[in-house]
Amino acid sequence: MMQTTAQINNVTYRYKGAAENSLDGVSLTIQKGETILLCGASGSGKTSVIRLLNGLIPHYYHGDMTGDVKVNGHDIANTQLYELAGVVGTVFQNPRSQFFSVDTDGEIVFGPENIGLSPDEIMARKDNISRQMKLDKLLGRSLFELSGGEKQRIACASVAALLPEIILLDEPSSNLDMQAISMLHDIIREWKRQGKTIIISEHRLWYLKDIADRVIFMDKGRKAHEWHAKDFAMLSEEETRQLGLRPTNINEHYLALLSDKDNAENGHTDISDGILLKDFYFSYHHKPYILRRKKFSADDGDDLSLCIPELTIPKGKVTAVIGSNGTGKSTFLRCICGLEKECTGVIVSDGKEYRKRQRIGFSYMVMQDVNHQLFTDSVEKEVLLSMKEKDVKRCHEILDTLSLLGYKDTHPMALSGGQKQRVAIASAIAAGAELLLFDEPTSGLDYAHMEKVGKLLRQLADSGSTVLVSTHDPEFIEQCCDHILQIKNGRVHPCLSAAR
């Protein structure tokens, strides 16, 4: 006889101030020890289901709710959040924003301290969990120096320290690279082995196929489909695409590539027309100097965080930049667009050389967190800000090609994530940048949005811009990239042409 752990009973919910219901008559019964995968497009209600189960709805996010939710015998509506702390644990999407302490130890014990456990008990739990999750190397460190993947492991540990029976994960892999995803996979599998009930909301499906027992597909606030894991695995790529889901199987070729394994086939493709990068040397570790800072050069060898004697980037194409986090992808992009002042290096395009500050004008980066690069109070002003000569007509043309014209008076921050990205692209075009760099533009996107970004990049490339895009999404590379650059330890491995 299966035991019910959580039950959502015909819940309809609308966030305060929202125009539509986020959940529309959702019912769900969750058995003890089950692992459930929630999938569906952004805004389909996945996150709202998670929030129902951990009580953030209705206690933290206010709105109109009908129906009731029971978790482990608690009626959520009448249970305070802190009473749920030892019952339900939640790992959130963004590794940067979910930790409360500044050091790893403090973060793991944060929950137990809150519920007033005795110090001895807390220390015992901490030791136990750090052994289980192999955290020795992370203990005693500042959270600010950890990578996203490491932060996410600490977040998992912090949740596990409260010993909840139910663990919820809300798009936990969004900001992770392949290696970190496989660590996350192992953590979830271990929880499953311990008999915890696990509910995961996720866009990346491939890494969960051996864990999930049941898959629930959400659409427009409703539970639209439900499969047993076996049946879900049988769905063809065509069928998942129809549902707007990312594929459940990933081409092994890309998996190997993204996992940083050596690939023997360093197939070199001839690039007839390209942008040449010459002498890009850079290191985060300054050499001691007395009067003049010495320039970085190839002789610095292993000290260099980035070492590119010469590299050609195909013009008018989309090139993917891959490699694990911390191997130099971001450094590479930052150096190209001139943000690292001390990076030597010349960009040659059409016989013209761009050095130092000129690199800033030549290239433009759309950052991973695009919120950092939106400054003004309307989309139109945002684009005009990039133009040396304010040309309203040209601005409207640019907005039109990116289908943003209708939003020209809207505040950029009021737009959706994808629209914000397009505003940033519009600014880049307005600034006259030829080389567009994208830092992980698809992390946390559902299939439909990822496809849109892919189409947009193709459109940019076809209209003559050169696009470099760093990504961890094999689906995305397959969809829109012409070439692949692999970065390892700050060294670039030659362009492979993508099997498009």
Partner: protein, 233 residues
């Protein structure tokens, strides 16, 4: 060698030093006490292996001290020396507080500090807020660095032809980011039981050692010397 002082001792040190820098030293003996008091945090910094900082403070403080005494005794009147004396006196006056504060901030973990505050019966609300303040300084720095990068790329470091922009373009994205992070942080914190009715506990073990008592004694004595010389004699 490592010397773990109790955060309460450290706070007491700041308290005494902040009081002493408000009183001027008028006799050589008082100067000696004052300088000795400044040497203690420098010494502690060396023990905690912050050599560079200790060295910098020592040089800085020493130079200022030397200049003040030399110039003040020589009846010099030139503009430069006047300017120099002005700076040096301020440094000599307030540097001890700065050094002590720097030592305390650098060598105290936030957890320890929060625990010390709990032991001193400061309400949970204030300790929680304070912990958030400390956690947010590095966050603000990270966010601001990205925003500055974005400004560089746009060439609007100086406001893009709009003086108010210098502040607006930095402040607005920063506020949006911080508010977002704050919302997510709060959600993550309350699901882990923050804000419950039970009194929070702390795994930090705070114990006063002999060194703590000794330092407290020393600083109390120094304070007494200054108070006595100022108000009684």
């Amino acid at each position: 060698m490592s010397l773990k002082l109790d955060p309460r001792t450290k706070l007491y040190m700041i308290f005494v030093v902040s009081a002493v820098v408000m009183m001027s030293a008028t006799t050589p003996f008082l100067w000696a006490v004052r300088i000795a008091m400044t040497m203690i945090p420098i010494l502690l910094l060396i023990i905690e292996k912050h050599y560079a900082a200790a060295f910098r403070f020592l040089i800085f403080y020493g130079t200022a001290l030397l200049l003040t005494f030399r110039f003040l005794s020589e009846n010099s009147k030139g503009f430069l020396s006047a300017f120099l004396v002005g700076y040096c006196s301020i440094i000599v006056q307030f540097m001890p507080a700065m050094i002590t504060a720097w030592y305390v901030v650098r060598t105290t973990k936030i957890g320890e500090f929060v625990c010390a505050m709990q032991k001193m019966h400061i309400p949970d609300g204030i300790t929680i807020s304070l912990a958030v303040v400390m956690r947010f300084f590095p966050t603000i720095k990270e966010e601001y660095t990205s925003i500055r990068d974005a400004m560089k790329m746009r060439g609007i470091m100086l406001g893009g032809g709009n003086a108010a922009g210098i502040i607006e373009y930095r402040m607005i994205p920063l506020l949006f980011s911080c508010v977002n992070i704050g919302d997510e942080l709060s959600a993550a914190a309350v699901t882990r039981g923050l804000g419950g009715k039970v009194k929070r506990t702390s795994v930090q073990v705070l114990k006063m050692s002999a060194a703590d008592y000794l330092l407290m004694l020393l600083f109390t004595a120094a304070l007494a010397v200054f108070v006595v010389s100022k108000y009684i004699i």
